[in-house]
Symmetry: C2
């Protein structure tokens, strides 16, 4: 995609908006259609995936590819697979037996709208659909497709999102040392960020060094993002569109270090993330601009 | 695998036992290890998948391949992926917000043993692991792997197991015509049977006619199997290892036609299934013998 460089801030905004629109359009095509009025599974899948959101995971993949000048049509399907998995993980995290959340992205959570059974079934349908989207990605070689399926599986599975959610649920109520909290945060948030950037590395045919740096960037970004989320949780739900105070009584970095030190730690992770991009020769590129934009209010 | 033909009944028994043992051994290797004593996700994944069971879905794949003289090592991984998906679907079907079952395979259900949160997380981990097992199957060409991922996704997703469970949950309590019950049964039970036999067709490089006949066999078998399950439900839990009477008040084929007519219908489906095998030139083969054995008590 062509990208002019005049007025970087406006250009970035327009470009992000254009990418999000394309992702949402493609998501709408890939998800089961809203044809049958009494099909709550399709409705829940669409509602939870197409609800307004930042689309960070798709953007990470797409901006990385644009930075490497390798962005093409096939990447949008993979971006959609990432967003489907993210949406499915939110359906399940919000369930009464997990975080018991009633508000998400400014709307009632999926189990509140459709019932717990539909929330589970729609999450399973979204997860399995994401794998098929990756396995069937047009214009992508079969060995790349199978590697993408494996990356997505790792990101979700017993050493990925699932493990992060488990740590949060079962250990989050006890006092934990900082590294245990950081590890849980990394699994919960960093897993899909890492998958997005590993897939960018695959698409852009990066060498091992570049791939490691992209992975390192993803890890730092994951830490920073989760810290920002924790700081947001202490704000009102009007500002975040989520239940506020869900972290009350939970051992987070804020409960351990306080808000100021958390903000300081966040800045460090952002700086490390920027370092990784600089070593990739991507300082000032789109990923770097996204980073600036995401964390501007934390500085 | 070599198979002698003397004393067919004993030989079949021995062969089935050998296949089940190999499937269970490979499942044990593929599932996350029981190394960490306080890892309930791995424990739930192992407990629910390795609990004694008929392993019908793996057997369908493996026996079909043996009938086509195409059984090799790589097929066992795919057989395990099928069993993982089946186990995950049972974890979720048994949840309080679904069928609310407390007993399965003679043991407390997964959410009873480990909690609802772990049951959901372990099911998600099993599902995503199954996709990675299919995508990484050793000795299998990449285009075959991507097709298998797509077949598994179809079998699970919004037009597969998920849809069948939805019909059962939301429409099962109302009066339904016979074809609506048959359709729900087919989605719940036939989806993975069909995937198993479609994957056998892929591995054995079947032509379109053979593939259609295998799919037809799977559909008939799915109907017969679900009818047998319904008949079993009216029996005591000692005999089935599951909660009995879970179908009370549910619109099943038995509630519509009575037990005798259900048994008659079951026999018809078994006969149609046999017809499909005969047209494939597999009359008297291993699939055919399995069919005999599964439904002997219904005759």
């Amino acid at each position: 995609m062509a990208l002019s460089v005049s007025d970087p801030q406006t250009v970035l905004e327009q470009f992000l908006r254009a990418l999000r629109t394309r992702v949402d359009t493609r998501l709408g095509e890939l998800l089961p259609g809203p044809t049958h009025p009494q099909d709550p599974i399709a409705a829940a899948m669409r509602e939870g995936t197409l609800a307004p959101g930042k689309r960070i995971r798709p953007l990470l993949l797409l901006l990385a590819l644009q930075d490497f000048d390798r962005l093409d049509e096939g990447a949008f399907d993979i971006a959609c697979a990432l967003e489907m998995i993210h949406a499915a993980s939110l359906f399940l995290d919000d369930m009464p037996c997990m975080d018991d959340a009633s508000l998400r992205r400014g709307r009632p959570t999926i189990h509140v709208q459709f019932g717990e059974d539909i929330a589970i079934l729609a999450a399973v349908a979204l997860l399995s659909h994401a794998f098929s989207v990756a396995a069937c990605a047009q214009g992508v070689a079969h060995p790349v497709r199978t590697q993408m399926v494996c990356l997505l599986s790792q990101a979700i599975g017993s050493q990925g999102l699932v493990r992060g959610q488990y740590f949060d649920l079962r250990e989050g109520r006890q006092q934990r040392p900082l590294d245990a909290i950081a590890n849980a945060n990394q699994l919960k948030t960093g897993s899909l960020f890492t998958a997005a950037l590993e897939m960018a590395a695959l698409f852009a045919r990066c060498d091992v060094r570049q791939r490691n740096l992209l992975r390192g960037f993803a890890v730092e970004l994951g830490h920073a993002f989760q810290l920002l989320d924790d700081l947001d949780d202490s704000m009102s739900s009007q500002q975040t569109g989520k239940d506020s105070g869900k972290d009350d009584g939970k051992s987070t970095v804020i409960s351990l270090l306080g808000a100021d030190a958390t903000r300081q730690l966040l800045k460090e992770h952002v700086r490390y993330a920027e370092d990784h991009l600089a070593r990739l020769g991507l300082a000032g590129g789109l990923l770097s601009q996204l980073l600036d934009r995401l964390f501007a209010r934390a500085r």
